[in-house]
Symmetry: C3
Subunit: 329 residues, 3 copies
């Protein structure tokens, strides 16, 4: 497929400097873009790549106008990454091939489920009774949505997603675990994306809640009664334990784990690989990762970590002795 | 739906102080329970919430009798959380709606599988030949049980569970991995729960074994030839590498990883986010997590971790010098 | 089933010392092997087990010839573990029961997919249009391969695998995430194994690439535009974030996480539980794990970790003071 530069700016806006008739055959990263490709500059740290790029055209921020002009055709956009995101959507819409049914005949849908007439349900999905699915929401193949769970509009659920399995609730009684039936459900807002094989458990008594605009990557576990605030994004392999509340506009790096029953404020950013062991009430960037090292160095330093408390006491003793020496006549 | 307080204590026992005729419309957490709800007090640290609770009735331990009486109706139970667990089961049984077939017609079941006549198999499950499934066990949708694996009675397997995929066995030969076929199977005891998208691999030669009463949360990986002892519980995103043996009555926090070929004793409790790098032969509570901090502080401290061994040596040198000073005439 | 020792060495080579007619009923680990079993010695550290083994026959390296001869029948092989791997394959081939169709009738396969006539597609797989699957590749049940993804020859994809879900690409615009459509695909080489419920995302513009001979365990997340080099193996629960390039012949332990946009050289080995926060350009063995300890000790040491930078400064101050003391007249 192809789109002309003219057709692109007609659809998306932006200030084109170059020939409207040039045909764009593909979208490509700045470094590998060839003469048939449109690309974009995400950050000024890639300026050197811009200068030598062979791309047919580059989307740049207003501040890059001069450097871009020296190279060739360009489109000026206030936010080039956002412009590029819209461009991928335009491209995808043009790519769309006909033929997939709105509700795949292999999907198992309870007659008591309420699915918006514009939603799409992929092959081998299982939709149980009482489920509600909003307008323009897309379930790819093999998605399970259990009883009474609610999914908003314009959501994307990728293959293998499980919504509304029982939360992990058990009471310990005489050394054995007794199941606490999970009587809540899951409520998911609008514009939520849920990655492949991610699981969101139903609540114990109240519901588990995912607010509007949340983006979850693959293989994430969301425990029962968790609440995730608007426009928070979470990278793959992350786990959030039960009854934890995460604010809006947070980002959680890959393979984070947030323990249960804590509160994370709005605007908190957690680095990949970090274990969150308590509430975080101030916005900011937080990290807790043992620094990687060659194994031999790690072994020596890790052994010392186990003596840290003792080392601190020894340091204190030296300081005390030094102070007394100085005081001595 | 609704149940009267009288019907509840008739079914579950407990000492009711209040009107048997009061109708309970829902079960609710202590804090949000309204006048139509039954709730429970899990710990004396929530006493303040009890005093102001609007709940129709509260389940309390014998020691809370007086405080509860000052508020309104209550049920005395020796172990309120256990009583509440049984209550959720009673509630769920009353909620049960008719209509789902015992074996969903979309399930793919090998004629050579032996499924107890009381077991329930959900939509789109795949049950291969030689599989045995015990009484009253429930497989939700999309569960795979591979050849020759055995599942006991009263188990719950949630959507996306994979039992008996090949263990990760490869021999390195001239720089390439050669597959070691996995000739064992998986044996799962009675009363085992397995969370959504959790995987339990078949053994290489012997079987992988999950003993009675084990509870596994979602997205857990159990490697080949692992053995998990009775009534051990494991939170989401945890991995157990091959040939490791975990004792009975253990708890493993979320996103733990236990390396292969080690032994964990009975009664070991591992905190969330901890990597277990060797055997643990004494019961107790173990942790290994880099403490989370604001990113700037973490950067400084993490940099110092990489010099820890050197710092220890420098501390020693100072101590030695101080000792010699004191010895000097 | 059974195979005679003679049949085994006729098929696999190796130097048999013992009766060709002896019937092997099972393959077993060295420790538990009984008189009907063939086993192997993987390392000289198990010599004591060899001496007392009741196995019908033991596969050993040339250096073990004498010790093995003192015990009973044995097969000498240059690389006993490799020999044993081939033996499991021979055994599995003899075990194979007839009856499963090459393409299970419940699989949902787009007519535009190109599946080699020798490939096997299990129950309830979903194969979208434009997909290519090579010779002798096996997809177990419930595997999803999305549009335009390519899988080579002799691969094994286990239940629940998701190939080609959208990468996690979003542009932040006025506090909301805007989807970047993922226009690339996934290209998987020959002889690649992909464990249960593992996900490999499609690329944003270019493809995500898994080279020949890569072995991925269960529940692994591979982000968009990742490249994994030949014969690299990765244990369960690991995550690789987008645009990272991993070399050939690497091993990544369980529940590792490698952040995005970094480069890992050939021959890098990462310990289980390690977070890789930057590029690693030299082969070697790397670790970054907080050492596990009893919880009380951990608490004290972890508290001190948060003061490490300060401790270092205090140590420096003491060193400076000591130096000045020595310089003093």
């Amino acid at each position: 497929m192809a789109l002309s530069l003219g057709a692109i700016v007609d659809a998306l806006g932006g200030e084109l400097h170059g020939d409207r008739a040039v045909s764009i055959e593909r979208l490509a990263p700045l470094k590998s873009a060839q003469a048939d490709a449109l690309t974009f500059l995400s950050s000024s740290k890639f300026n050197d790549d811009l200068v030598v790029s062979k791309a047919a055209c580059v989307i740049v921020a207003p501040a890059m106008r001069e450097i871009a002009a020296a190279r060739g055709a360009f489109i000026v956009a206030t936010d080039p990454q956002y412009y590029f995101a819209l461009l991928t959507q335009l491209w995808k819409a043009h790519l769309a091939r006909p033929g997939t049914p709105r509700i795949h005949p292999s999907a198992i849908i309870d007659p008591g489920a309420d699915i918006d007439s514009t939603a799409r349900i992929g092959a081998l999905c299982v939709i149980e009774r009482g489920v509600r699915i909003g307008a323009d929401t897309v379930l790819k193949s093999n998605v399970t949505v259990s009883e009474d769970c609610i999914i908003g509009a314009r959501c994307n659920l990728y293959p293998g997603v499980v919504i509304g399995a029982d939360g992990f609730g058990n009471a310990l009684h005489e050394g054995k675990w007794v199941k606490i039936e999970q009587l809540g459900a899951v409520r998911i807002g609008d514009d939520v994306d849920i990655g492949a094989n991610t699981c969101i458990d139903r609540g114990a008594l109240d519901d588990t809640v995912i607010e509007d605009g949340v983006k979850l990557d693959n293989l994430i576990q969301i425990g029962h009664n968790v609440r995730i605030g608007k426009h928070t994004a979470m990278a793959g392999c992350t786990g959030v334990a039960g009854s934890t509340s995460i604010g809006a506009h947070c980002t959680i790096g890959g393979q984070g784990i947030i323990i249960g029953h804590v509160t994370i404020a709005d605007g908190v950013h957690i680095s990949a690989g970090t274990t969150v062991m308590g509430s975080i009430l101030k916005p900011g960037h937080y990290t807790g990762v043992f620094p990687i090292d060659d194994n031999a160095s790690w072994q020596k330093n890790a052994a010392t970590v186990r003596q840290l408390h003792t080392l601190r006491d020894r340091l204190r003793a030296l300081e005390k002795a030094a102070t007394q020496d100085n005081k001595a006549p």
